[in-house]
């Protein structure tokens, strides 16, 4: 089989053949059993090659996107951290409150019970659990405990995944003292 026929077969298989070339190839195929055999064999090989390569090279859906913590690209492998961030935020708030000594339990003042917490507060759970009222930011300022009962308030913002630590004073005003991003 000559080079010209081989090129025409390749162009046809690749969908790159012109109409004139297609006619030329058809004439050659009628004349040459070798050309017909070559085309049939090449079609078989092409089909198997395409099937094999697509199967092997398809990105595996279960394969994680590259982990690049060092490069600052979070990737899918760190997805679990998104769900743990609120928990970590609450834990950080409790720890901070204990450290600065604002919790009633750390001051041994049995005569003064802590203020009731908002119902949807992640830290709410009665007097035996966390004494730091951490409430979602979108629950509104009216849900804040009475001023004077707590000096430090943790507010976790679900949207920005940030923990706002607010200092409460006796005049019932709140001012952000620190913002911790998680």
């Amino acid at each position: 089989m000559d080079d010209r026929t081989e090129h025409l077969i390749t162009r046809r298989l690749d969908g790159e053949i012109t109409e004139d070339e297609s006619l030329e190839l058809d004439k050659q195929l009628i004349r040459s059993p070798e050309a017909r055999g070559c085309l049939a064999e090449q079609e078989r090989i092409d089909a198997l090659a395409g099937q094999t390569l697509r199967a092997i090279l398809a990105p595996d859906a279960s394969q994680p996107v590259p982990q690049a913590e060092s490069a600052g690209w979070p990737g899918q492998a760190n997805r679990w951290w998104r769900y743990l961030r609120p928990v970590a935020a609450v834990a950080a708030a409790v720890t901070l409150a204990v450290l600065v000594g604002t919790l009633p339990i750390s001051r041994s003042r049995p005569d003064k019970a802590p203020a009731p917490l908002a119902d949807n507060s992640p830290g709410a759970g009665g007097q035996s659990t966390s004494q730091v009222p951490v409430i979602p930011a979108n629950s509104g300022w009216s849900n804040l405990p009475q001023a004077g009962q707590h000096k430090l308030l943790g507010v976790f913002d679900d949207e920005t995944q940030s923990l706002y630590l607010l200092e409460m004073n006796r005049r019932s005003s709140a001012s952000p003292s620190a913002v911790m991003d998680f």
């Binding site: 109409e19 990105p59 394969q63 590259p66």
Partner: protein, 192 residues
């Protein structure tokens, strides 16, 4: 012309995503990875000829893309830029791996194992064996011919698209595909 000769890459579509990546948007990067994974893997396999190492090299390529994106001056030229990164990374990896390993047995081994881990219900052992033979034959092609062949058959790229990507005239792409097919016919004669 009957074929897709006139079809070129529409790389402008991806431009906003590239710009977002340059600003450090990780979600854009994930989106970009998922949309471009296969052709990048095809390039890597075309250079390496070893499917076993494609995953590792691909990960390195995406990391480089992420890190170096801010330095890409013209976001509309992202494809040749990514191609160069993929090609260079695969070439470096190929040099390193060549020192300590042999190639073809690993390729055949992987080809036989890969479908078994996620077996399509209608694929029999004979078909898997044929795929392994095919993969081994493709892997044994000279890189010169393997690269356009893989892009053609895995991605269905036109001669012009392959030429744009590899920086070759379409005539050269065609000639390399003719020779790749000739070699495959010789290697696989009577086997598939």
């Amino acid at each position: 012309m009957i074929g897709p000769e006139a079809i070129r890459f529409d790389d402008e579509v991806e431009r906003p995503v590239i710009e977002a990546i340059q600003r450090g948007d990780a979600h854009a990067m994930n989106e970009f990875v998922h949309r471009n994974a296969r052709w990048v893997r095809s390039v890597i396999f075309g250079v390496l000829g070893r499917i076993r190492d494609v995953d590792d090299v691909t990960q390195r390529v995406w990391l480089k893309v992420w890190r170096e994106a801010p330095r890409l001056e013209d976001p509309s030229r992202w494809r040749p830029w990514v191609y160069r990164i993929a090609r260079n990374t695969a070439t470096d990896a190929g040099r390193a791996l060549k020192r300590g390993r042999e190639a073809l047995e690993q390729v055949a081994d992987r080809a036989l194992r890969a479908p078994a881990s996620n077996p399509p219900p209608d694929v029999e052992a004979a078909a898997r064996e044929q795929q392994a033979l095919m993969l081994e034959a493709i892997a044994s092609l000279p890189e010169l011919y393997r690269e356009p062949f893989v892009l053609k058959h895995a991605e269905g790229m036109s001669y012009r698209q392959i030429g744009d990507l590899l920086g070759l005239p379409t005539d050269t792409v065609e000639t390399r595909l003719v020779r790749a097919r000739r070699l495959l016919r010789e290697k696989l004669a009577g086997k598939v």
